[in-house]
Subunit: 156 residues, 2 copies
């Protein structure tokens, strides 16, 4: 029963290999820009940026882990390092001691504000600029389709 496999067609394979190459190269390129210009990784930026956009610049760690699609273990380590650098601080939720809040400090806010323009510039350079509105919309729908399928099949 090996050969009821539905192999990829040429066009499907080429598209998949192009996406695989993107997954290998784009994170490294964005990491490099942020590390060089602001001393943080892309993942650090996601964490700080999400905090900066929330009320009180505060979020629960489990919520941050969910939004950034990472394990709680990884987030815990990242947050510990960011706290040691003074970019955020941790406090138990005063309403419920089981939760831990991450709170962006003034220094963290300043760093995000300073880092954002060059980061957005890199995202434009590498991804957005040069695409038509239609391509951008298709990119969104394809990426959402993929993450939904992963969520369905992966973690229930």
């Amino acid at each position: 029963m090996p050969d009821d496999v539905r192999w990829l067609t040429d066009k499907e394979r080429v598209a998949w290999l192009a996406l695989a190459d993107l997954m290998l190269r784009l994170p490294a390129a964005l990491d490099a820009q942020l590390l060089r210009d602001s001393g943080i990784t892309l993942y650090d930026y996601f964490v700080l940026s999400n905090l900066s956009m929330h009320p009180e610049r505060t979020m629960r760690l489990s919520e941050l882990a969910r939004i950034t699609s990472s394990s709680l273990s990884r987030l815990s380590n990242v947050v510990k390092r960011l706290e040691q650098r003074g970019l955020l601080r941790r406090e138990p939720d005063p309403d419920n001691g089981r939760y831990t809040n991450a709170i962006l400090t003034g220094a963290g806010w300043d760093l995000v504000v300073a880092a954002a323009p060059a980061h957005v510039g890199a995202v434009r350079d590498y991804v957005i600029d040069g695409l038509t509105d239609e391509q951008i919309e298709t990119l969104r729908s394809v990426a959402c389709h993929v993450t939904e399928r992963v969520r369905e099949n992966g973690a229930c």
Copy 2:
């Protein structure tokens, strides 16, 4: 001069965040399937699969590193582990001692052949199936656009 920044529009930002989420989740999902079913990572699979499709099942390490978009250092470590597991072997290029060839063994070939159907199934499940031909073509052109821009701006 901070505010000549071209921030992302809503549609651009949503598309970018969807792609970022894909980059965080899809590699982990494909790694999990391959590790569970075949005991190798997605990157291992790329290496073995590229070897299996080349004449003599042989490639130079530097060529493998280029094709898999990774550092030579990473590839060297991965190849060392795959060699220890008997899936490939290394030999100096007989025509030019500067080069090292990686050569797929019989066991490596068998493993790729055994792993391929489920891996292709996962790629279909997570990415390809459910997309129209047009979406697949746009995915390819967008991903190629991104990797070209990264190559231009990143490593010259």
